[in-house]
Amino acid sequence: MIEGVGIKKSFGDNHVLSGVDVKLHKGKVNMIIGKSGTGKSVLLKALVGLHEVDEGKVLFNDRNFTAMNYKEKKVIRKEIGMLFQSGALFDSLTVEENVKYPLEMFTEMTPEEMHERVDFCLNRVNIKDSNQLFPSEISGGMNKRVAIARAIALNPEYLFCDEPNSGLDPQTSILIDTLIQDITREFNTTTVVISHDMNSVLEVADYISFIHDGIVWWEGTKEDILKTDNKEVVAFVYASEFMKNLRSERLKGGYF
């Protein structure tokens, strides 16, 4: 489990996070949602240590990540896989080399074992016959899938995904969502997904944390979010026509 306790983060006078308390459960897809600019990505980066927090702490299975020195953090980081919004694949390495990279850096595997593992990870995300292509030569959806393959190469305990669906068509989005959900179940990872796409939330979320005004404003499951009367959450969830229709269906007794 990952726990954020009283996380505060400001950029100059801009107080982005003003005391976030959040619990992210093992073996579940934990979604952090909220409007654009509410600090979801800042929270994610604070959780993984890319942003130093001003106050508060982050606990990985009760290990205080915030208080650790660089060497101790490195140990935790080897247990983390992360899917960036842009994919963040190494653009001068091929697809295969990208997935092999963490294996080369942190394992003593033989070239054959590495090759086997790379093949397994790429097969797991349905990438075939593209091993020798560069990231610039593959589509956005493939880019994200290769990034997932790289993220799971070391069997991470924690998987962080920053807006995995951004820039993807609805069909590919569903594919990525399903993949994240399957990987979470299969590897029993603590998965944290940042999103503002309600389709994604309803597709894969096990637990949802709604960020508003720099704090976790609301928490619950995807069943709860459709039933809540919390004004801010309702305004966010039912912003689209599709969701409005879904709400009326729910009120009539359909969906869930």
């Binding site: 890319l50 140990v75 919004q85 694949l89 190494f90 080369e104 850096m105």
Partner: protein, 249 residues
């Protein structure tokens, strides 16, 4: 005041870069890759520039040393010493600051703005160590070879100009380049090239690593890398010359 902020950030980055590599096998492979990219990739530009610099130096010297008091072999001495003392170590390194420095800042800057460096950080890799240190070692190792090559080709360029223009006789030129030769000048040139290699790669890496924004900012970081590297080269040229060539210093 901003200068001190930058200097502090530069030294902090170097502290992170100059640490034990995560994996030596990968680290040595990275050094070889950088030698190929930074060193071998610069041989052609260094060769062309050096031949022309040597030729121009000889023609300039021949046209200006018209006094009968100046010995006939002086052009050879001038071409040799100017190549060894300044043109090869300093001017060639300034050209390399343009070629290698901008490339390093561009590469690291692009990696920074596309979150590739963040991706490394998350994995537990030390990005400054992985990206910067192999470049520093590769350039400090290879720049002296480029400078020696430049000296040789510069003197050869002078010889070619001698043959083609006839401004100086070949015998006088050959005598001139051997006259009163001081081997320490080559040591001085090598020491300078090692210092300049360090300055170019670290300054360019610093500017690349601190890039924020997009393509325009990456371009701006590359420009800054070249400008500040050149200034640092000139500053350290004065310091090293004073320390190494001034008698009694």
């Amino acid at each position: 005041m901003q200068l001190f902020t930058h200097l502090g950030a530069y030294f902090l980055l170097m502290l992170r870069a100059f640490t034990k590599p995560d994996k030596y096998k990968v680290f040595f492979r990275r050094i070889v890759e950088e030698i190929e990219l930074i060193g071998l990739g610069s041989i052609s530009i260094v060769s062309i520039l050096s031949i022309f610099m040597g030729a121009v130096m000889l023609i300039q010297a021949a046209n200006n040393f018209s006094s009968p008091w100046v010995p006939a072999y002086a052009e050879g001495v001038a071409a040799r010493d100017s190549m060894i003392l300044e043109f090869s170590p300093t001017i060639i390194c300034m050209v390399l600051a343009g070629k290698v420095g901008s490339s390093i800042a561009g590469q690291i800057g692009t990696m920074k703005v596309t979150e590739q460096i963040n991706a490394m950080e998350i994995m537990g890799v030390n990005p400054p160590n992985y990206l910067i240190l192999p470049k520093v070692i590769a350039s400090m190792f290879f720049f002296p070879f480029l400078v020696i090559l430049s000296i040789f080709l510069g003197i050869l360029g002078g010889y070619i100009a001698t043959v083609l223009t006839g401004l100086v006789t070949v015998e006088n030129y050959i005598y001139g380049i051997q006259f009163d030769y001081n081997p320490f000048y080559v040591t001085y040139a090598i020491v300078k090239s090692v210092f300049f290699a360090f300055l170019i790669t670290t300054i360019a890496s610093y500017h690349g690593y601190n890039t924020r924004g997009g393509a325009k900012e990456v371009g701006s970081s590359s420009t800054k890398a070249v400008v500040y590297s050149c200034i640092a080269i000139l500053l350290f040229d004065v310091i090293l010359t004073q320390l190494m060539l001034t008698p009694g210093s």
